[in-house]
Symmetry: D2
Subunit: 318 residues, 4 copies
């Protein structure tokens, strides 16, 4: 099957949204902070930004939600821009094989998190982003970056969610302190976590998120400005990381069923990238037992089946 | 860059073989059994079978080597043919995040190995292949299957290597017994290990191995006979498993650098599949600290860079 | 309270046996082999051999039961006699802090079990006992040793239990193979396990067991023959090991509640030693969640309270 | 050998001090904070408070040192006085089988530390001591308690050491935050750690420490006032805990060699209790690979050998 933008893509996303609207099994909404717990599990949204600048959306594609761990992709991009491959001395690139907030692995590997998409790794990334800044400036930099990627100044950080994370984030505080005991966090823990919690509290719609991910389908180039956000090789590598580590301990399952690089968050959002073809955002708040959006994952499985966008699909020789 | 068979592919593989011939850093040859320890680290071979039936080879592409864990791909294919998706009740599909022979994970997950490419998972696969057979028959089935895939009846099992595995395979015996204590091995441990050790002792050249992997680029279809070895979806999923779990605890690194699904073995061989385009085998006996062929990995990185075959590369819309 | 043999010791053990007869909560009988599973949970026996050669018994003190892990004390004594302190290069002396058959610790500590009373450690001890013998001879040596300690040639090994252990002992086979992979088992695994499973299948009554433990209250001296089984220092150290490691992951609880060195087995027996005063055996087949005899532990708590025999009790200055 | 106060106890401690003065191998002084790092490894002190009110001392018995983890015994005593056995719902009583500051066990056991003498357990104890107090008051209560036990108002807290602990205590902050994520720390982490770090910074001499430990040889009774600090049963149980868990992952070794309940600290101090007979304090700053005082442990082994005070020694029947 040739990889292409299906002529009936709008019909496909409409059909997916209709199927998801009728699904009973939605999983469990994250409830560790009020700002997430009160989200209605009935929501479902999908938005597909294609390589040619079009957008195909359905469902609650314009409702803002907390992107949570999806933000790790953007923070990683900033950190790589700051310190380049030196980042990989402080964070690994291997799947974790453990629950996403496990502290065990850090003991075995002397404070080096396995990848930048588990919490510990993302906290190291926050520490890198914070370097040379006051925490407020670092948070501002992340917000401006995401707004620029999406071409949308309406994106905001949900302060209530950020505060909720801070009020309950003892495990993240444990991770940060633990890594600091190994010398792998350089700034005061409360400042690093301040950056991290605000980044996770970015509120975006599917449409905004799909737009923000476009540079990763375009080999790192901002499609609106032509500016190179990252080099082509680095864009490929971010995609590779999403494929191997983007869905906590369900990354294998996602690759197996969907076959597209993606990053999920406990807010129920998933960002996927089909290199050269599309940037996709889905959202449904109910989570499966691995912490990934139940309907979001299913919708992407449907989309991949309908479009042939799995990277493991046969590609037409040119 | 469009995905295609480069017009100068022979020149590319010749250049790679020449570069590898000049490399000093080759890593350490596996030395736990005599049959592997005495292999000359100077070897390097590469063979690329393309979708259109051509073969591009260089270096020691016709020298037979012990394919070791690369055989797990073929055994998995047989097991899926026998029991289908029921296999996934006994083996997971997630990266392991641990050394490839770790027993710790099995304790935490009650005897269910994380994926079919770590030793524990491959032993469960052997147990499935063994069902309804005497061990000799099961070994014969694997050998016939690989010969058929490669279209080459000259492929043999190196009995000395198989015996060496049996003489030293106490850790695999521990894994098998441990899983049997959880009820996840159904046949006598020595029979299961007999099958497993013989499968690992398959001796193949790069050319033979690249040919044996062709069905995985052709959506599961045997290119010579047109027979469906596995369904297109299952072929994609085997490729996904290779991407996420094919290189032990270096799978992330390989995806990051090469971006092509592959499976390595401690004999120094790697089989890679570019869906729709090519089946690739490389061999160089020296291993890096993760147990993957040092020059084999580097050669594949060079090949991916020269051809644009990374699945994370931008694809041309059709 | 002075440490002494209470003048009313027979009344104490009678009272304890009476209380235990009325207890409803008895825990769960080990059921992994038929020879253990069919034992009536109603049994309770107690026997106290005192320093002055008297015996105080009550309940089913003359019924034979499978001593299981209690046998590790006798096997350790033989092994120390054979290789002395060189044993401690192959086995540690620290509490395990894990389930008694955990394989995780062995990975972290390179095949060296933490102490001789967890299964892995006892298997190394069996390997030492086996040295220079055929398995049958080693088993015979253990049997003769225990008969001599107890002064009772009627003690036998229950072959059905030994066979049951062999038929289901996959986890022990895993431990043995795993340690052999580290070079810490020197003989063929099936021979070592043969010795181990037969040793665990020793069938003894409380009276026989209490007699067999007398050398440990007498600084290593056989009370009947005056022969030094082990040196006084070694006897003290075996007692120390029982105190710290004798009850799997309930050793702390036992020290806290009873305060007397002891070793339990999944057959429901416990052997305790009060240095200079008494050797005690109790038996009741129901186990608590840590794998120690529920009523046996309670009976010993009662006995310690009534006699002041806890080693943590105030001692009268001489 | 009867348990007694040897008539020549002063000669024994003099001889031990003389031997230790000549020892070259002293281990490594803790150097993670300046207040510990600059202590001269040449120090050695010993003080033995006997049941009859006498004191036998030698070496640097009057030099104050940082008692560090030895303070856990006193804090545990206060916490048991406050909440009684309810404490054991929040802290276990089993040996840890891991490094003393391991965070792994906490993950496996859902935030419940294995015993009150590993750091995590002691932090829970601090949380209990803090209840109903401002941190300063809680610290004051601990100081007053230790002064009262020793009958010595000259005991102080070394503020520089407490500050040093706070400046570097990231691993303890990780433990506290981690347990708070499980709900097993009830007060703000910085307040709990403030109490903990000050408690560890108690500066005492061997003489003061031996005096402060006297209540544990006297079944919980203060020898100067006759007041019951804890009940006899609780005193026995604190002694049992010291025996099983008092020396980090060297508790088995200590029981094996010395056989007396004790608690060590990284300042090089050890407090030991011989029930009914003696309270002993030794100090030498160099630590062995388990974090226990090298010469302190050896001195206690010598003292136990000379006096027969091991609880595993044969006791004279009364």
């Amino acid at each position: 099957m040739p990889v292409t933008v299906a002529p009936d893509l709008q019909a496909i996303v409409d059909r997916i949204a209709a199927e998801m609207a009728g699904r009973e099994e939605r999983g469990k909404v994250a409830d560790y902070i009020p700002g997430l717990a009160r989200v209605d599990p009935k929501h479902f949204g999908i938005a597909v930004a294609t390589h040619d600048g079009r957008m195909f959306a359905a469902g609650d594609a314009d409702a803002a939600f907390s992107i949570q761990s999806v933000s790790k992709v953007f923070a990683l991009t900033i950190a790589l821009g700051k310190v380049g491959d030196a980042l990989w001395k402080r964070v690994g690139r291997e799947p974790s094989g453990n629950a996403f907030n496990s502290i065990v692995q850090l003991e075995a590997e002397q404070g080096i998190p396995r990848n930048p998409f588990i919490n510990a790794g993302a906290i190291v990334v926050s520490d890198v982003v914070l370097a040379g800044h006051a925490p407020k400036e670092a948070i501002g930099e992340i917000l401006r970056f995401v707004r620029d990627l999406a071409g949308d100044d309406g994106i905001v950080i949900d302060d209530e969610v950020a505060q909720g994370e801070a009020d309950t984030g003892f495990r993240n505080a444990a991770l940060a302190n633990y890594m600091r005991s190994f010398g792998n966090i350089h700034h005061p823990v409360d400042q690093v976590l301040g950056v991290y919690f605000h980044q996770c509290a970015l509120a975006m719609s599917c449409r905004q998120l799909a737009r923000a991910g476009r540079f990763l389908m375009h080999e790192g180039q901002h499609p609106d400005t032509g500016f190179n956000i990252v080099s082509p090789m680095r864009a490929r590598r971010i995609n590779a990381l999403m494929m191997l580590c983007g869905h906590y301990d369900g990354s294998g399952e996602f690759a197996f069923r969907v076959g597209i690089p993606g990053k999920s968050g406990v807010g129920g959002g998933i960002l996927c990238v089909v290199p050269g073809i599309a940037s996709i955002a889905v959202w449904s708040p109910g989570l499966n037992e691995r912490g990934n959006s139940t309907l979001g994952s299913l919708a992407l499985e449907r989309l991949a089946a309908a479009t042939g966008w799995s990277v493991f699909n046969q590609r037409e020789p040119g």
